[in-house]
Amino acid sequence: MFFQLIVSGIAIGATYALMALAMVIIYKTSEVLNFAQGDMAMLSAFVAFTLLTENNLGFPAAFAGALAFAFALGAFLEFAFLRRAKEPNVLGLIIITLGLEMILYGLASWKWGSDQKDFPFPVSDFDTHELGTVVVSDLNLVTLAVALSLMLLLFVFFRYTKAGVAMKATQQNEVAARLMGIRVNRILMLTWGISSVVGAAAAFMIAPVDTLDPNLMWTPQLKGFSAAVLGGMTSLVGAVGGGFLLGIIENLFGGYVSVEFKSVVAFAVIVVVLCLRPSGLFARHYVRKV
């Protein structure tokens, strides 16, 4: 049972980690908690669903299309809403994201209805492998693989590409970034686009286990946020670690202590972490953006 709980924790933790990454990418650039993150991802999942079931595209084409949509959506929201904020302050921007969340939710309810739908996926959660007493499904493995490769991709992007380093530079010192000729607005759009893609990938992994409806990403977003706080909010590695850790803690708590309070573990963990190590478990040092 112990190992099964750990494995299940890692499986769900992978999706938390992706949501946490998505939120941290935006938070790092603008100190905005993006409350529309989950519903941006939900909308992308619906687009994938439509491409699959109505346009009868194959999985690669449909998912690629939906990821492209996710990127465009993220970039568009930054361009059309966040940038418009006159004299932006953090609170104002957060309120904008809350408003966006409502708009996106309403849009999905209107376009696709709120009833539960079955999200088609190429690998099944019921095809399983047994390692001793521990069961892992194909979907678990794919989720983990997707999560890890996305993380690796992001790592490479931020470390080795000019655009990635420019994003970090913008996060650290916007004025200096402008002085390098970095078009900061474009970087912000790019940030939102990439973040949206990462969130969409999480939604694609969550929807086959859950059912597809406009509430799909409500809980995952909260968990992703918790994981991000656990990881210190500004560290990509921290977000990933926080995601996996939260998944494991939750499952162990549900298995050994109480299922009833399993869903509040995340928040208890946040409170404890904020009290003991306000900069998160993984942050090396906490540098506020200048």
Binding site: S114, Q116, S137, T211, G255, V259
Partner: protein
């Protein structure tokens, strides 16, 4: 002479006040119409159940096409409350004060209903057939509120009994949504199994916001449950069956009637719903009873096929409201709140497309029976020519009344 005049005048006045010729108006009722309202989630997490309210609309269109009730056409006011109690309150206030409805037909959801019940009681508003099996509507009885849906403890007791004595499984676990809805079912199951000297092997709560049910399933598995009764949302039922299938846990699943739309459940569980046993409060979709055939024809004629399919939640919107219509019919041309309540209390073993409905003074729980169904599968051809398995409910028992 003067005295005579005064006498005559006061007589005329008395007669007028007594309503001879000019009756005091009843809210929502005119010579040719009755206004009836309903709320139902057309958006939000419970929107799946919103088709109940659209079904009622279809039912009223059918009645109006047949000439209405006692010559009065029904004007129907459907409002979306998004399953949010505060919105339900606003909707009810609007329908009572601005529109002026005679009463409310059905209405989806326990907490939305609970939020407006005080207003209904205070204003003596007729309200029949809430689309949930909560015990709050009929216990204690309220003058103008009539429950139709078999209450959850009754249904859970019937299902538990069925598992014990027909399926002959003794290790029963119960997984429930951690609120009124789930706990109502749990109470019934506990009471029934206790009456036979046993107890549930596990009682596992699910929070509405849970999305990962791995540890829940492992608890069930550890308890060695042979049968698991579910009192949860469709979404959680899907996650539950998926996670269990993955972890190699294969009990007999037994579900509440809220999950009795077999084709839909079969679809969202990717076929795992096949073999699940569940309670039913209404005839199955393929029933050939004359009423069901007539209602299906009404669906074909009036319903919007894009948003609705001929499923149990849709025609439940007919079934929950049948007793109300019967009451209006029996109240006759002189329809008032009091005459309506009196008429409702004459319903005895009234039979529409659901179980028998009986009311009496002091008795407001109309239906106390369900029947058992199982999800089977049928091969269907999709529009683009593919063969596909579809869930289909199979009837296993006659109506079973609570003892």
């Amino acid at each position: 002479m003067r005295k005579g005049l005064i006498l005559a005048l006061s007589l005329a006045l008395t007669l007028a006040l007594a309503g001879v010729g000019v009756a005091a108006p009843v809210r929502g009722v005119s010579d040719t119409t009755i206004k009836i309202g309903q709320w139902g989630p057309q958006t939000g997490p419970a929107a799946l159940w919103g088709s109940v309210a659209r079904g009622t609309g279809c039912y009223f269109e059918l009645l109006n096409a047949e000439g209405g009730v006692n010559g009065r056409k029904i004007e129907y006011f459907l409002r979306d409350d998004g399953y949010q109690p505060n919105r339900t309150k606003a909707v009810v206030k609007e329908l009572l004060e601005n529109v002026g409805v005679f009463g409310f037909a059905s209405g989806v959801g326990t907490s939305p209903g609970m939020a407006v019940m005080p207003d209904m009681i205070a204003n003596e508003v007729p309200w029949v057939g809430t689309a949930t099996g909560s015990t709050h509507w009929a216990f204690p009885p309220k003058k103008t509120i009539f429950a139709v849906y078999p209450n959850y403890p009754d249904e859970a007791a019937i299902l538990t009994n069925y598992i014990l004595f027909t399926l002959k499984k003794e290790k029963i676990a119960f997984i429930y949504q951690n609120d009124d809805y789930g706990k109502g079912g749990l109470d019934g199951a506990q009471a029934e199994i206790k009456a036979h000297g046993k107890s549930l092997v596990a009682e596992i709560p699910v929070e509405v916001t849970d999305t990962d049910l791995a540890s829940h399933v492992m608890k069930l598995k550890q308890a060695g449950a042979e049968a698991v009764i579910m009192w949860v949302l469709p979404k959680h039922a899907a996650i539950l069956l998926g996670t269990s299938a993955k972890l190699g846990f294969k009990p007999q699943w037994v579900a509440c009637s809220t999950l009795s739309d077999a084709p839909l459940m079969h679809k969202i569980t990717k076929g795992l719903w096949n073999g699940v046993i569940f309670g039913n409060f209404a005839e199955l979709p393929d029933s050939t009873s004359p009423l069901m055939v007539k209602y299906k024809a009404a669906f074909d004629k009036f319903a919007d096929k894009k948003s609705d399919h001929w499923g149990v939640f849709f025609y439940a919107g007919f079934g929950f409201v049948e007793p109300m219509v019967e009451g209006i019919k029996r109240a006759g041309k002189d329809l008032t709140v009091d005459s309506f309540v009196k008429a409702m209390e004459t319903l005895k073993d009234f039979k529409g497309i659901m179980g028998r409905v009986t009311y009496a003074p002091g008795e407001r729980q109309g239906m106390r029976e369900v029947f058992i169904g199982r999800c089977g599968e049928a091969e269907v051809t999709t529009p683009d020519g593919k063969q596909e398995k579809m869930g289909q409910a199979v009837r296993l028992s006659d109506w079973i009344a609570v003892k």
